[in-house]
Symmetry: C2
Subunit: 272 residues, 2 copies
């Protein structure tokens, strides 16, 4: 069944979207059209959103579901005039929290919530720079500064994972692509040997790897299923032999892989 969902915020919309997405994921038989509307911070913008909500109601024949984290009460009242079904994230939970903390929230007193710039900023930028500077085995002499070093065959997903961990957690993650030479000798390259405790392996199904490599270098030996299978099997053997914890990226999202690595390696996030 088709339904429309709106994630509405006077800020980035990240919270409304994250919560809305995971609540809607519990209703698998529905086909939701999901629309995020950040920075709805004026009456005029709210009136525009009301028009969009009502148009969706007309088109679907059902009320759109609205997840909102709008702080300003006047703006919320405008949105409430729409034909949508509103899920009120903030006030639902702030009442019990205010009671527990014996304290009024900024929401109740009408102050807006901004992520803003904070002490995390430089930590995060430095982590992203670290991931970029130490990508693809280009440089190995900063490995002593790394929180983690991801290893695996070329194009198995190391770089996006390192960048996500940098952005989301402030983790400094380098990555090193294992070469055919490493695979043939079933040996860790010398650059990695001193940092065995920082290594985490990424593996992938050979057919998925072949598809990904074909987008870059179509019809090459590098992209062939046979080559991908050889590399993946060799690397998995190396992981076993060297006892390197690893995860198969084929069936997990970057978020899932990253969260699993942090748990497995016991690495603490640097962002507060």
């Amino acid at each position: 069944m088709k339904r429309t969902a709106f994630f509405i915020s006077d800020g980035t919309g990240i919270t409304a979207e994250a919560l809305g997405q995971s609540l809607l994921a519990q209703f698998e038989t529905f086909d939701f059209t999901k629309l995020t509307r950040p920075y709805v911070d004026s009456i005029e913008k709210a009136q525009l959103i009301v028009q969009q909500i009502n148009a969706a109601e007309q088109a679907d024949g059902f009320r759109p579901i609205i997840f909102d984290t709008v702080v300003n009460q006047q703006i919320r009242e405008v949105i409430a005039t729409s034909k949508g079904f509103m899920i009120d994230i903030f006030s639902t939970f702030l009442a019990p929290l205010e009671k527990e903390l014996v304290s009024q929230s900024s929401y109740t007193v009408g102050k807006s919530h901004s992520i803003g710039k904070d002490s995390n900023y430089m930590e995060r930028i430095n982590a992203v720079n670290f991931a970029l500077d130490n990508d693809d085995g280009a440089r190995t002499h900063y490995y002593d500064k790394a929180d983690l070093i991801m290893v695996g065959v070329s194009r198995c997903g190391k770089t996006p994972t390192c960048l996500y961990m940098a952005m989301q957690f402030g983790i400094r993650a380098a990555n090193y692509p294992l070469t055919e030479e490493d695979m043939e000798h079933l040996q860790l390259p010398n650059a990695l040997k001193p940092y065995k405790d920082k290594l985490f392996g990424l593996t992938i199904d050979p057919d998925r790897l072949s598809a990904i490599r074909n987008e870059r270098k179509p019809n090459s030996r590098y992209s062939s299923f046979a080559q991908c299978e050889f590399e993946v099997r060799a690397v998995e053997q190396l992981f076993r032999k060297e006892n390197i914890a690893n995860i198969n990226s084929t069936h997990f999202s970057v978020e899932e892989i990253s969260a699993k690595i942090l748990v497995e390696k016991g690495v603490d996030r640097r962002l507060k």
Copy 2:
């Protein structure tokens, strides 16, 4: 006041964390210690978390606040034996949603929620690769494929913004650092002229820029306040002259900058 908060999930913990963080941000006078505990997917792991919660209660002299999105009822029951104050994210909202959708949720029938791998995967990887391949003006001949091209002085935050938009929204964003030559002539470089409608400017306070550059190249002309001020002023003048929408990155997080750019440019996210 000091309090401890736990974000507990049998998945990545992203939802519990996003919602918990923004609810706690409404209580500005508190100093929360925030602990994320993803993949709590067994009774044993839940028992370990209970110990951590109770230890925090002992240390703080107050009940820790627990935000959880654990689906498994047996695991939730174990966590409920702790001394924490539980905010029950899923069941609070799923009941009204089930009524509105006239449908049972997977949660109610006990199925777990995984982000998993989906059609978004390649879109996202391709966007990250696009940002990396078209970083720092290194290549300009793929600008026709770009959704956006970020422009600004060196080290004003273009790369993290492009990577975030790629990862979060699947947006293909290139970035081009404006050079002293561009500034002196107050002209857009030829490579950018055909793509004026894709440009978005990033500016920054000169003292912040100087601090960031000093981390890379301490005590250089490049990092000096005078040089940073000259470049920023020139670039801001160029943005005005060429009528290029822009934002000052100094006081906003990468999330805020990215969300604002999408709204301002009317660019649709590619991830569903």
